[in-house]
Symmetry: C2
Amino acid sequence: MRLTQTLLAAALLAGPALAADGTGLDAGDLAVAESLRGKAMAGSAAWSVVESLTTEVGPRLAGTEADARAVRWAEAKFRAMGFDKVYLEPVTFPVWLRQRERAEVLAPFPQPLVVTALGGSIGTGEKPLDAEVAEFANLDALKAAPEGSLAGKIAFISNRMVRFKDGRGYGPAVGARSNGAVEAARKGAVAIVIRSIGTSNDRFAHTGTMRYLPDVPRIPAAALSNPDADLLVNMLGRGQPVTLRLDLSAETREAYTSHNVIGEITGRELPGEVVTLGGHLDSWDQGTGAIDDGAGVGITMAAGALIGELPQAPRRTVRVIAYANEEQGLYGGKAYAEAREAAGEIDAHQLSAESDFGAGRVYALRAGVDPAAWPVIEKIGEVLAPLGVVTEAGVGSPGPDVGPIVAKGATWAQLAQDGTDYFDYHHTPNDTLDKIDPKALDQQVAAYAVLAWLAAETEVDFGRAPAKAAP
Amino acid sequence: MRLTQTLLAAALLAGPALAADGTGLDAGDLAVAESLRGKAMAGSAAWSVVESLTTEVGPRLAGTEADARAVRWAEAKFRAMGFDKVYLEPVTFPVWLRQRERAEVLAPFPQPLVVTALGGSIGTGEKPLDAEVAEFANLDALKAAPEGSLAGKIAFISNRMVRFKDGRGYGPAVGARSNGAVEAARKGAVAIVIRSIGTSNDRFAHTGTMRYLPDVPRIPAAALSNPDADLLVNMLGRGQPVTLRLDLSAETREAYTSHNVIGEITGRELPGEVVTLGGHLDSWDQGTGAIDDGAGVGITMAAGALIGELPQAPRRTVRVIAYANEEQGLYGGKAYAEAREAAGEIDAHQLSAESDFGAGRVYALRAGVDPAAWPVIEKIGEVLAPLGVVTEAGVGSPGPDVGPIVAKGATWAQLAQDGTDYFDYHHTPNDTLDKIDPKALDQQVAAYAVLAWLAAETEVDFGRAPAKAAP
């Protein structure tokens, strides 16, 4: 420890003499980056942060009492971890609260099903809804159904999400969740159930947001667990009408104000320029929000704190943001971007990244920056390479809460994570602490700390976000 | 197919000329056994039987309307599968029905927990029960607590079941479930919660029976899922009192009569001598009872049906029994044994086996028979060897429903299954069809068909059950 710090101090004193390669970084900067990497890999604070959040707060659906507790928790945690500036930023949104959710097959083979309401769904009313099920292989098949053909029926979309390391099976499947209710209502359906947008065969139903349109009747929408979707498919395969009873209720409230919680390591030379990391503080209500997104909060808090422990801060400010209400519409990310725009601070954002894809290891560095700044990204990638991270040009996208500020011109980086098992757990009761490998979290902390340090230390300006990813 | 049947017919006509090795079996008998093995491995009916039971009946807690449907299902299925004699045998037992079950931490870190009532537990009364939690590392630690030390508290046993292929982690752990309520009540506790007796970290609480004693106050008993038990341990580790709210209710009813459902392939020479296979027809109420014990029912029905399809029946009768209410006290097995004893038919039982350890492959043949009959067991083992089955002397035990008749002197065989993942699923909502590998079922059908055929065909008498397993 002592030896390392001496080396670092010497390296920092050496100054920017080697910064002629377009990276704006010198050997000292890189030595610090390597030391951050080593420290994180030797054991970071990330797991204990997630343990604290999931144990002491637990599920924290946006707009609930637990949301408020999570905000207090994050504020205290930032302070305890040595961030020199900690503050809250208001984020206002409507509230949706899950209440009753039950489903059962009434005929021809009565048995209960595991179901969960989709976020934002209306209930079935005072009494349960009983109706015949009409199966569709996917959302397109539902769209192709004749007008009125679902009058009085419950639509059932049975397509299964496919597992990929990068989660690309989510996009093609999630339309059933987002838009299924609208499409089913257009055909006359009285409700919709979908196969869970998840990859696991564990008997958990995956929740997540859905939307209504002003000109389309609102119908209740719910997801069945994969084994229950299988069961329903098997029943329907026997050729007899299948009658389902659906019993959902939910409460909605207007205009709750939660907060983005922000911790900073103030830059030593350019405190007004910021590199942002972050995750989202809210979670769905069923699990304890360990991988979605306690992990992201823990990783980025721990990475920021490591930088805060250095003998001196980087040139620019490192800002870690625990975003409010990502799950129900990126409210925290949008509020953050709007407030920065109003303050004329978009250009002050040098590079922004979010960790919101679970707790799997990072395998790629990607970025959307001014081409002139690409050498910095490549240099960062060199320091990340021993972590098993490759630098990929021309691909990638910012994290969900970073999207809104990128849309306003901010640059971004992505540390792509292995999401092979992410959709086994996310948005289910099974999103709990035990699903996290502490060693994998350490690797991610190492990657975020290196990224944040070098991006905050370089003399290069990352510019404005290009129209496309890459240099 | 045609060629095989011709060969079999020829083999059967050859008669018992080679039966001088103490096995009472000749080359023809063995050729039939090998053909049964091959047919089963090429694709048996077992999976489709389990699919039918889980889809068309689903969960079938003893004493419910679904129990009655399961009995009708089994009767019809035996007939459809070609058993020449199908009948019901009454089994009477008290009924326990799960109603409400909720738990939450009230302080210091409010959040809901996933909990399930243990089978037989009383409820918490009209209002939920709020009390401080006292943790014990295991049942022995609870037993060692001073008298009265748990007055007004909820005992929590946190020990974790260990995973083994043969399930031997169950015995040391399950005492907390069976006897925890009695031991906790003796110390003054008002309720008990235990870590689930299961090996998975999925967020399902495992149910299963518990018992009360006449002279000890009855207190509510429930299991937390493993992630929730972890959570509670982590909370308690912070040193502050933890208050739990437990809200359980259950209904009990007296004297429901269900049925063992029995299908037979009548023996061609000694129809009064029987070889019995079986599984239990009832299930817990949370899953669809696919691995516990739809699998056992499907495997043994399919094995019996394969024997029924032979050009001629074996010398003895092959009887497949779908036992009633195993889960809540081996009622079906006990009723079966008592009825046979009353009829003087214990000695008519040549060999009895049950499949009730999930859907994993068979890896060992074990038996409790007269030592003079051990050569038959070894010969059966030779035919099973290509299935990856070894013959083990001196170890093993009969299946749960076979236990009662073995206690009365009947001999038994055990086809030991790989139960590595059995306790991940059993007694949880996650016990569903997708957890079954159809190929593994086929291997088990092969093993049971070979066992039943050769045991029913041999001229050797298996005698009376020895005091210990093995010859």
